[in-house]
Amino acid sequence: MAVQQPNVLVRRQLPVLNTALSVVRPARRFARRQPVGFVAVVILLTLIVMAVIGPEIVPYEATEFTRDRLEAPSLKHPLGTDQVSRDVLSRVISGARVSLQVGLASVALGIGGGAVVGVTSGYFGGQVDTLVQRIMDAMLSFPSLVLALALAAVMNPGLTTAILAIGVTILPSANRVVRGSTLSIKENVYVEAARALGASNLRIILLHIVPNLFAVVMVMISITMGAAIIIEASLSFLGLGVQPPSVSWGAMINSSRVFMEVAPWLVLVPGIAIALVVLSFNLLGDALRDYFDPSLRGR
């Protein structure tokens, strides 16, 4: 189905339309070439909408006590109720918000920070680069969960702590990926040409290096979101993530473990929620990688 080409005159007068088309066209191409990735995008968009407006439209508050304790899924409670009679559907939707919040914020922090460090360190090189990279290597010697746990332990557990802790574990790997790409991009002839024309370092970084990092960073964001959500779930499973009354999928599983023999949905529902989100982010990451670099297709 071809979109009617708007005539040139209209396009000149409507910059908004141009911007819209510049989003729609690549999106349609992506959907056609990467159907699995497109399905993942649809699932994730649904989830985001659910996380944003869901808690407002669900029949019960996430922390509200209904009178039905450990009730199996029914029309009244589509996903059952938990050991203190809270509605599981309302809670899992509320948990989606926390999961995405922590995921997005920590990924923004980790990849943003890692990208700044990686680009500057890789572009300028020299002694500072060596020093910074050894510090990053040292950060990489901590298993992600161990570092996040340690940080969560010395700060007060909560939303901000979880975001900071997970962001810090993402930073060194993001730095490594971005630095690697920067090193190869800066060897290109157009960078040399820009320098010969007298462009400043800042201009070269912003106009010639950063745009070429787009593909790498997009893939990394997608895959890291999945990893961040798993760490968040693990932290809150251990009781060191987001604290009640905020709802987290990991904490839901932990608090309901004892009751799972009589009410398996208490573990299954948040478990499936985590798996679905992480799977979608991973599939999207793979699809984006294939889309940006067709030579890797099917690898």
Partner: protein
């Protein structure tokens, strides 16, 4: 070769140093200090607390305390838990075997599952068997291992009336009991790690299968068996060694959760217990040991990699 090993060892020195600095900063970032945590809620006077702090050296400036900690480490003194009064060293002897068994057996199992799976997936790329293997791998990556562990316990206890035991017995004390207590945790650590290993094996082998010398092998009329087993796998498995290095971090994180779910008295559950008690001295030692394990594993991996593939050390 000797030169490469030397260079690689020298490179590790700053990494270990910064690792120590980071651990020290994290532990000391806590509001107040060990003594404040310990004496909170007691009726000790301000002077008594200050006196105690002087005794353990907490009144000294940070850099001085950092170097005195390094001194303690150099003498092999990891300190004493202020909560239990047990020396960290003593507790370690009890805890390390549990985690080591989970790690080594888990990693071995992951390789046993993932390498054949990755190979089949690569040589039969884009066939139904490849799709199934890839789906299993990407699905396995998406489910956190604590969820799998909790569900495994649920299934076994509810439908088979089987309860995986809590606790630990050393394998040389009672091998049968050790197996009974550890088979499920090891299985879960292994399967959890096999997903990402299988993906990496598949992509490295595919890369090798597209190289020139494989085309040559085919064109001189070798059978598939000879091409794959003698030419491709040998070269594809060298990079797989580096996977062990990459996997070391993930496997430790996985073990922490598995130990908690199965009630195993290992390093991971000790770490979580120490966090909840705010018992910082063992916590410091545990984080240090985890980080050093990763550094040492990566060192060994890099050196053996360069030994197998001379191109690396000549770079």
């Amino acid at each position: 070769m000797h030169e490469y090993i030397l260079r690689r060892l020298l490179y590790s020195i700053p990494v270990v140093f910064f690792t120590l600095v980071i651990i020290f900063l994290i532990i000391n970032a806590i509001p107040g200090d060990v003594v404040d945590v310990q004496t909170a809620g007691t009726t000790l006077s301000e002077e008594a607390i200050a006196e105690y702090k002087r005794e353990v050296g907490l009144d000294k400036p940070l850099p001085l305390r950092f170097f005195s900690w390094l001194g303690d480490l150099a003498r092999g003194d990891l300190g004493t838990s202020i909560f239990t009064g047990v020396k960290v060293q003593t507790e370690l002897e009890r805890r390390v075997p549990v985690t080591l068994q989970l790690g080594i057996f888990g990693l071995t199992l992951a390789m046993i599952i993932a390498i054949p799976l990755g190979i089949i997936s690569a040589i039969r790329a884009n066939t139904p068997i490849d799709y199934v293997a890839r789906f299993l791998a990407i699905g396995g990556l998406a489910v956190p291992n604590f969820v799998v562990a909790v569900l495994a316990i649920l299934l076994l206890s509810k439908y088979l009336n089987y309860f995986p035991g809590v606790g630990y017995v050393l394998p040389w004390v009672d091998p049968v009991e050790n197996f009974r207590l550890m088979w499920l945790p090891v299985l879960l650590v292994g399967t959890a790690q096999s997903a990402s290993v299988a993906r990496m094996v598949r992509s490295t082998l595919l890369e090798v299968l597209h190289s020139d010398y494989i085309r040559t092998a085919w064109s001189k009329g070798l059978r598939e068996r000879a091409v794959v087993m003698r030419h491709a796998i040998r070269n594809a498995l060298i990079p797989v060694i580096t996977i062990i290095g990459l996997q070391a971090r993930a496997i430790i994180g996985g073990i922490v959760l598995i130990e908690i779910v199965f009630g195993k008295p290992g390093m991971g559950s000790w770490m979580v217990e120490s966090i909840f008690r705010r018992d910082l001295i063992p916590l410091q030692a545990i984080i240090l040991l985890f980080a050093l394990t990763v550094v040492v594993v990566n060192l060994i991996v890099d050196i053996s990699y360069s030994w197998l593939d001379p191109r690396i050390r000549l770079k």
